[in-house]
Symmetry: D2
Subunit: 100 residues, 4 copies
């Protein structure tokens, strides 16, 4: 269930350099996760399922890093210069949730 603030955020005005790359990564991760699901359905060895699941998690972590770096470099600096403190607060929340 996704909770999203509908509030228009100045964020929409920033071009994201890595959107295409992020979308490709997410598509690959979805495909890989579907194949992990098939492994479980076919009762493949648990160690092999865990190794493939770890690969998906690592890929999603790397995708998150691409988003975070892109966001800091393009959205945060720009928002901060326009006095938009909310963008920094939202980034802090995202860092807290993303870094375990």
């Amino acid at each position: 269930m996704i909770i999203m603030s509908e509030k228009v955020h100045s964020h929409q005005h920033h071009h994201h350099h890595h959107t295409k790359a992020v979308l490709n990564r997410l598509s690959r991760a979805i495909g890989h996760l579907e194949s992990v699901k098939r492994m479980v359905e076919e009762e493949k060895d648990c160690s092999e399922v865990l190794i493939q699941l770890s690969a998906v998690i690592a890929a999603l972590n790397n995708t998150g890093k691409v988003i975070l770096k892109d966001h800091i470099e393009h959205c945060i600096v720009d928002a901060w210069d326009h006095g938009n403190e909310e963008a920094m607060e939202n980034l802090h929340k995202a860092i807290d949730r993303f870094i375990k």
Copy 2:
């Protein structure tokens, strides 16, 4: 790309207690990841995308723990008692890859 040994492994003879729960978790994670992808397509705020991506990663981590605990309790102990050292080696490899 999934590399899987076709070798018949005594593993197939162990009933997995949590297969249904694991399959449900993976289906939910796939659905959630598709919605994260839509958020990126719609250029939603990066912080919100990161928060939802973190939720998917956390869910997959928890799924891995269910598999790992089930595997240790049912497969490993049984395999070890039958002198199957390969099962323990595979578990070690899986632990190395799964725990970052």
Copy 3:
């Protein structure tokens, strides 16, 4: 503050193969953490402090894996064969806390 059950646990009868290696790893991590602390005192660049802190965290994670694998291979299998279900429950708790 460490909360530890004083209950005698059959665990004490299992020889740990990796105790010396684990102790060396922990000593190195303590030394490395002290040097990270000095970096902060000397106001070194935050990125460099973060990189060194990540190295300590990675080293401690690897130490945890050594303990976990040693524990599964020597304590858990033995405890399970002696009908000691508590050892498995404690392992599950440790896996839940250790894998984020």
Copy 4:
């Protein structure tokens, strides 16, 4: 072994808001790690050692988040406004290493 560039970095001119808090956290983590080491010396139950080690790792992760957020808010924005791209590159390296 700590590799640190001796290059004077504009970073020294930024006051860190959380230095005292970071130093306290690191001191506590060092103390906690020393007590984990004593647990291993006293052959305490591996599951309990793992739970305490996880607590140290979690504390260090949280310390890293405090440093990262402080760095983004005070050093990066300021460095970027002064055309110091190196600070952003160093932050990217730190994010890559810190987020596993």
